[in-house]
């Protein structure tokens, strides 16, 4: 049994993490699809599916509400959905609004925050917000959804590690000493920065005002003001989310490509998970160029002779050149993966080949799932 099938059987939450473009969204969808064929009631929370992947999951727009993927999609691809597959696409803004509603002492205050311009900018601009809300949504689904398994995709950060730090970045930001240093006196003085007693903070404020404008400063002061009294709720929730992620029900699946840089990042990420006490479950090495045979030793001289020959000879020359080019990549990737094996033992990984077709529809996802859940690792000829 592959490491990933073991996780699907035993865990309630699988987090697909990794740096941009390695196949997180695809893997999350494939894992969800496979779990449904094994009889699970599973929810996949995607972040940024390709349009065609979204439409194969029946997703048309951002929606926090789980949408059932019809059993017909499965049968059309020759699969049987013994369980149920639900898919959704994270809506950061709506999730944030719900969080505010939940922790604001009154409805009035919640509405004040939600209508605030600075608040609106946060959900579209401040880095870390999307990650935070993904975690929040995950927590809710887990608490209330009644799913056997939740598979969560992670935002397209350039760097996989950003994701781990994101929730803290946001709460730290809300409680930032620097911001309090100049915003609190400003608020106390009723928005009149001229009356701010602290001279240094006053000078500072004047410059901030010139840069962002008085209105914006008022907006932010109002925002931070209405947030007072909600920090404890936020922090409590952040602790609960962290506890869930650290618990035995969760597992992180780290996706990587076989490229040197990506492998280095994935190893570092796995070690950071360990340090943080987060459960690292498996490593998926995705888009590995397939090896179809042993290297054919053709000399450049032989190839150039063929190139000058008949149509048949020229075709052979091209076939040999093409094989040589692919073997260069294959061997390079194998070297990268040998380095990886010294850091993360092979029984913790699954290799998924670079498919000849695109992995955006059910048959494509099924092909990925076949590899992820293969009972025996594909034979590697040496």
């Amino acid at each position: 049994m592959s490491v990933v099938s073991d996780l699907v059987d035993r865990k309630e939450i699988i987090v697909c993490a990794g740096s941009g473009g390695v196949g997180k969204t695809t893997a999350a969808a494939a894992i969800g699809m496979h779990a449904a064929t094994r009889g699970k009631k599973v929810a996949v929370l995607t972040i940024d599916p390709a349009r065609r992947l979204a439409s194969s999951l029946g997703l048309k727009e951002l929606s926090n509400e789980p949408h059932r993927v019809s059993a017909r999609k499965f049968s059309a691809a020759g699969l049987e959905a013994k369980g149920e597959l639900y898919a959704m696409m994270l809506d950061t803004k709506t999730t944030f609004d719900q969080v505010v509603m939940k922790y604001a002492p009154s409805r009035e205050q919640a509405e004040k925050i939600i209508g605030n311009r600075f608040y609106r900018n946060i959900s579209s601009t401040l880095s870390g917000t999307q990650e935070y809300m993904a975690m929040e949504r995950l927590y809710e689904l887990h608490a209330e959804g009644g799913y056997d398994l939740i598979v969560i995709d992670t935002p397209p950060t350039r760097n996989a590690l950003d994701f781990l730090d994101a929730p803290r970045r946001l709460t730290d930001f809300f409680e930032s000493r620097v911001l309090r240093w100049f915003l609190i006196p400003y608020m106390k003085a009723g928005g009149g920065f001229m009356r701010v007693a602290n001279v240094a903070a006053g000078t500072f404020l004047r410059i901030v005002k010139r840069i962002v404008g008085a209105e914006v400063l008022d907006d932010t002061a109002e925002f931070f003001g209405s947030l007072e009294g909600m920090y404890d709720g936020f922090k409590q929730r952040a602790r609960e989310v962290a506890a869930l992620l650290h618990s035995q029900v969760t597992s992180f699946v780290v996706i990587t490509s076989p490229a040197e840089q990506s492998v280095a990042e994935a190893t570092f990420f796995a070690s950071r998970l360990d340090e943080a006490g987060l459960p690292f479950g498996a490593l998926v090495v995705n888009r590995v160029h397939p090896r179809f045979g042993d290297r054919i030793e053709a000399r450049p001289r032989q190839i150039s002779k063929l190139e000058q020959g008949s149509a048949e000879a020229r075709l052979l020359a091209k076939l040999l050149e093409n094989e040589e080019a692919f073997m260069r990549v294959v061997e390079l990737e194998e070297r990268n993966l040998e380095g990886l094996a010294r850091k993360i033992p092979r029984h913790r990984w699954v290799r998924v080949p670079y498919l000849e077709q695109e992995a955006v529809d059910f048959p494509g996802l099924a092909a990925i799932a076949d590899q992820l859940f293969a009972t025996t690792a594909p034979a590697v000829r040496r």
């Binding site: 941009g20 473009g21 390709a50 349009r51 065609r52 600075f118 900018n121 579209s124 601009t125 401040l126 880095s127 397209p156 350039r158 760097n159 930001f173 620097v178 911001l179 240093w181 100049f182 240094a200 500072f204 410059i207 901030v208 010139r210 840069i211 962002v212 404008g213 914006v216 400063l217 932010t220 490229a259 040197e260 840089q261 397939p290 179809f292 045979g293 042993d294 054919i296 032989q302 002779k305 063929l306 020959g309 149509a311 048949e312 000879a313 075709l315 052979l316 091209k318 076939l319 040999l320 093409n322 094989e323 080019a325 692919f326 990549v329 390079l332 000849e356 077709q357 695109e358 955006v360």
Partner: protein
């Protein structure tokens, strides 16, 4: 197109989704310009900072440092741009630590979305105007940030200029809008992979640049395209059943013994290439159909972890294709 014409605007902005090859293409354009005798500066804005690795140089700082003959590099960090901005605009000699703390920079860029991008573009403006730096450059290649949607970076100045009615920031945003909208000063090159998501984002961007932002564009780069190795006749042959014996004879004639396993491998690699190539072609067709700009295809290089010679190779490909435009 003459190379002189291609390098007419001083600023070439290379933009695209993360991982499509922006840094690689930026380096290739810089090499091309340096070969034409230009003093070139590459401004890396991307967080990853993979540029120095290509040139085998030390990490880059906020001021241009020489990476190889004719090519300098720098890394633009919003924190430092803000400090520089305050120094220049407010004649502040000592910048309070509070101003350059991450939380403050986060705050100010959230309070005024786009400000971060403006600070970054402001540094490009300083370089273009030959202010705050000892060096002068003929060409500035901007390796634009990947984070978020690529449009946010280029639309920041006009967005902020619309949002603010008066004030120094409004005035500076206007200068940047002028810089970006002047085809003699700046031009954008979008880089994409022949894949669904990068192509659809690129098309959205190219349209917005043209219709909404009015920023000049040059040829788009479709990167890492598998070569069209086989002729149509050969394709046809490969699709049918191939006479292995005939190929084997050809191999033997040059002293190459090929067994059945070798042929299985040869045909599998050929099938893989043709299949990926045809998927890429679909996306390339969509790309071409959706833009009025020429599309320059750059080959997939099989030596992953590209080193300088590979990038020089790409520079030659670009040069050759630009001359044919």
């Amino acid at each position: 197109m003459l190379l002189d014409e291609f390098f007419d605007p001083k600023i070439l902005i290379v933009s695209g989704k993360g991982g499509v090859g922006k840094t690689t293409v930026s380096a290739a354009l810089a090499i091309m310009a340096a070969k034409a005798g230009h003093r070139v500066c590459i401004a890396e804005v991307d967080e990853k900072g993979t540029l120095p690795a290509i040139f085998g140089s030390e990490g880059l700082g906020y001021e241009p440092s020489k990476m190889c003959p004719g090519i300098w590099g720098l890394r633009i960090i919003p924190e430092e741009s803000l400090a520089e901005y305050l120094r220049v605009q407010y004649h502040m000699k000592r910048i309070s630590k509070a101003f350059t703390s991450t939380h403050f920079v986060d705050y100010i860029t959230t309070a005024a979305p786009g400000l971060k991008d403006i600070l970054i573009l402001g540094k490009i403006w300083y370089l273009e105007q030959e202010r705050t730096t000892k060096e002068r450059f003929d060409t500035i290649v901007v390796d634009a940030p990947a984070a978020g949607h690529m449009l946010t970076f280029l639309s920041a100045p006009s967005g902020l200029s619309d949002a603010l009615r008066v004030g120094p920031v409004r005035r500076q945003a206007d200068w940047l809008v002028q810089m970006l909208r002047d085809p003699k000063r700046a031009r954008v090159h979008l880089v994409t992979l022949p894949e669904e998501m990068p192509v659809s984002e690129t098309l959205e961007t190219t349209r917005a640049l043209e219709e909404r932002l009015e920023i000049a564009q040059g040829p788009l780069f479709a990167n890492a395209v598998y070569s069209e190795l086989f002729t149509p006749q050969e394709e046809k042959k490969l699709k049918g059943t191939i006479d292995r014996a005939a190929l084997r004879t050809q191999g033997e004639a040059v002293g190459l013994a090929l067994d059945d396993e070798d042929f299985d491998a040869l045909f599998s690699y050929a099938r893989f290439l043709r299949s990926r190539r045809s998927i890429q072609e679909t996306h390339l067709r969509n790309l071409r159909a959706g833009t009025g700009e020429p599309v320059i295809e750059l080959p997939f290089l099989f030596s992953a972890g590209l080193a300088l010679p590979d990038v020089e190779n790409l520079a030659d490909v670009i040069e050759e294709k630009v001359e044919k435009l």
